[in-house]
């Protein structure tokens, strides 16, 4: 069972019921659960969307798109049924925040799903979890069954004329399915290959109907926003970045864990104070700020960096999924880059050629490089390949592979050069990556 961690700087909104037995529906109700849904049933769609807009909540999957705005794009009238789709495919390396939500607060996910449904006029919601999370799928299924038994889901929810059905769906192992259109394909029983956009899911989504797709953490934030009010939630965060988020700090720190901190919280403080600093008193070499697809940052770049979408974007990286991976000075960046690209090569669905071929050649080049057989021209080739993948694929997987690679080559060129001419890797022991 994943350990819960805590720090005085945390502002517990989404995580406030963690460790309190809230997976039990009666306990959840005792803790104020399902009040937000009742309120939304009374207030109606326009009010909900306005609260969401006021909250400044931006998509926690990584793109950071304003949630209220996303919901407002769904047409009011639609010949086809509308759907809510909760993305719990959580597969970006360095990211394990939704894991804790499903484990400790599954009813917050259900409430958020119902409220999203009320906002856009959907009668059905799907909660999609990655297949590896089987024990969490069982927790979610139990929570949904309990909510049906209480009349919170079904034909007449909370005794009203409103219908809302919820289905928990398992994945079966695919990073790519975390992309919204690939997720819809998977839910329709197909290979998780992305769709071309436009049309966007808000217009043509699941089963051809208008669909809102939100990350599990985004959805879990919704009932709390309704309870505390959009403006109060916005005030917790930084400018144009409302609220808190679950930052997952992993890698070479003393106290790795999930910490709920206000948007805009300083990254250096997050590493040195919240997570207890670099493990074993070593020096910080680099930080991946938001999951493995986000470009690496150097120690001097995090001094005053606030962790919100805009500030990290300005620093040349992305806030992404909020998965902070800390790398100490004993780590080989070439090996780290190789392991990162190996993942994307493994996960590329093969639909778009720049991604399929690009990830494969990057992996080959980096493998050869790390083994000491690289040439100086390879460094430029790696950069050239990555630059030519950017923006040339249906979905962001190609970019997700290219962006971190470019970051490593540009910021650690010297370290790449140290591997030239048959020189043994100065740090690493592991050369081959066994995955096929």
């Amino acid at each position: 069972m994943p350990k819960l961690t805590s720090h005085p700087d945390e502002v517990k909104i989404i995580s406030k019921r963690f460790g309190m037995g809230a997976a039990n529906i009666d306990r959840y109700i005792e803790l104020g659960g399902y009040e937000a849904t009742r309120k939304c049933l009374a207030e109606g769609s326009e009010w909900i969307i306005n609260e969401m807009k006021a909250s400044g909540l931006r998509g926690r999957g990584g793109a950071g798109f304003p949630t209220g705005l996303k919901w407002s794009f769904v047409p009011k009238q639609s010949a086809k049924p509308k759907y809510v789709l909760v993305n719990g495919d959580e597969s970006e390396p360095g990211t394990c925040k939704d894991h804790l939500i499903f484990l400790h607060d599954p009813h917050a996910i259900i409430e958020g799903t119902i409220i999203a449904g009320l906002a856009i006029g959907a009668k059905m919601g799907f909660i999609y979890l990655r297949g590896e999370y089987r024990y969490l799928i069982e927790i979610m299924e139990k929570a949904v069954a309990d909510a049906y038994a209480k009349g919170f889901l079904g034909k007449n929810i909370f005794g009203t004329e409103t219908e809302f059905q919820a289905v928990v769906q398992t994945g079966a192992g695919a990073y790519e399915v975390g992309e919204e259109s690939a997720l819809m394909e998977s839910l329709e029983g197909k290979r998780g290959v992305p769709r071309i956009k436009p049309p966007f899911p808000a217009v043509v989504g699941l089963y051809g109907g208008p669909t809102v797709i939100n990350n599990a953490e985004t959805i879990a934030s919704v009932p709390h926003i309704i309870t505390m009010g959009g403006a109060a939630y916005a005030a917790v965060g930084s400018e144009r970045n409302g609220g808190t988020r679950l930052f997952g700090i992993s890698g070479h720190v003393e106290r790795p864990g999930i910490y709920e901190l206000p948007m805009g919280y300083n990254l250096k403080k997050m590493i040195y104070e919240v997570a207890g600093g670099v493990r074993g008193g070593r020096k910080l070499k680099a930080v991946v700020p938001g999951g493995s697809s986000t470009p690496v940052l150097l120690p001097e770049e995090i001094e005053t960096l606030g962790m919100d979408f805009d500030q990290v974007g300005k620093a040349g990286s992305m806030l992404g999924s909020g998965g902070v991976v800390v790398i100490d000075d004993q780590t080989c960046i070439v090996e780290f880059a190789l392991r990162t690209i190996s993942f994307y090569q493994h996960e590329s669905c093969g639909w778009c050629i720049p991604c399929r071929e690009g990830t494969d050649w990057l992996k080959k080049s980096l493998t050869r490089f790390h083994a000491g057989f690289g040439t100086k021209k390879d460094i430029d080739n790696i950069q050239y390949l990555a630059e030519n993948m950017m923006g040339r694929t249906f979905c962001p997987l190609g970019d997700a592979a290219a962006m971190p690679t470019l970051g490593f080559v540009k910021k650690f060129r010297k370290e790449f050069e140290d591997h030239l001419d048959g020189k043994p890797c100065p740090y690493a022991k592991h050369v081959e990556v066994a995955l096929v």
Partner: protein, 177 residues
């Protein structure tokens, strides 16, 4: 689907679960991925017979089913050990010694990536991120997570599964019980 009821290769419980599952969605085919995974849990892998019955239940061709199955990394066309030991070596786990754990397991079980022990009790696999990055290094044995590992803890975990396999054998339970 009365023919599937009478001729199903699945247990009555799983068969009943599938009957209910197809009704949950606006489109029957949406049941395909969960069905394949749950069938695999019971049978051990996606055998021809499994693929045939799923295709029949969903009005798909066997090729449709294979085509989708081949996309998903958890679905397999060959059996694995009773306990499939999956070691995450992705970045967060790697930084905290995942490759040492993997090598330790290779040595301990005497098998490599995608190998199966001679007695069929264990198989070993290097896998991509399993979503336990903050509690790394971690492994997943079938569906159970074991996190914050050291080589010593790995030894305890393996010993516990070996004991469990021994007890199951003594009781004459089937391999996938």
């Amino acid at each position: 689907m009365s023919s599937a009821e009478t001729m199903s290769i699945f247990s009555p419980a799983l068969s009943a679960r599938f009957d209910a599952l197809v009704l949950k969605y606006p489109v029957k085919r949406s049941a395909l991925i969960p069905m394949m995974l749950y069938a695999q849990d019971e049978v051990g892998y996606l055998s021809d017979a499994v693929i045939e019955e799923i295709a029949q239940r969903l009005d798909l061709t066997m090729l449709d089913v294979r085509n989708v199955a081949s996309y998903y990394s958890m679905l397999r066309f060959k059996p694995v050990g009773k306990y499939n030991v999956q070691v995450c070596t992705n970045i967060s786990c790697m930084l905290r010694g995942a490759y040492d754990i993997f090598e330790h397991l290779e040595e301990k079980l005497g098998i490599g990536h995608k190998g199966i022990t001679a007695d069929g009790v264990f198989s070993l696999e290097e896998v991509e991120c399993i979503g336990v990055c903050c509690w790394a290094p971690a492994i997943q044995v079938n569906y159970d997570f074991h996190d914050d590992l050291t080589n010593d803890k790995v030894d305890e975990v393996i010993a516990a599964y070996r004991a469990k396999a021994g007890r199951a054998d003594a009781k004459g339970e089937s391999a996938n019980a």
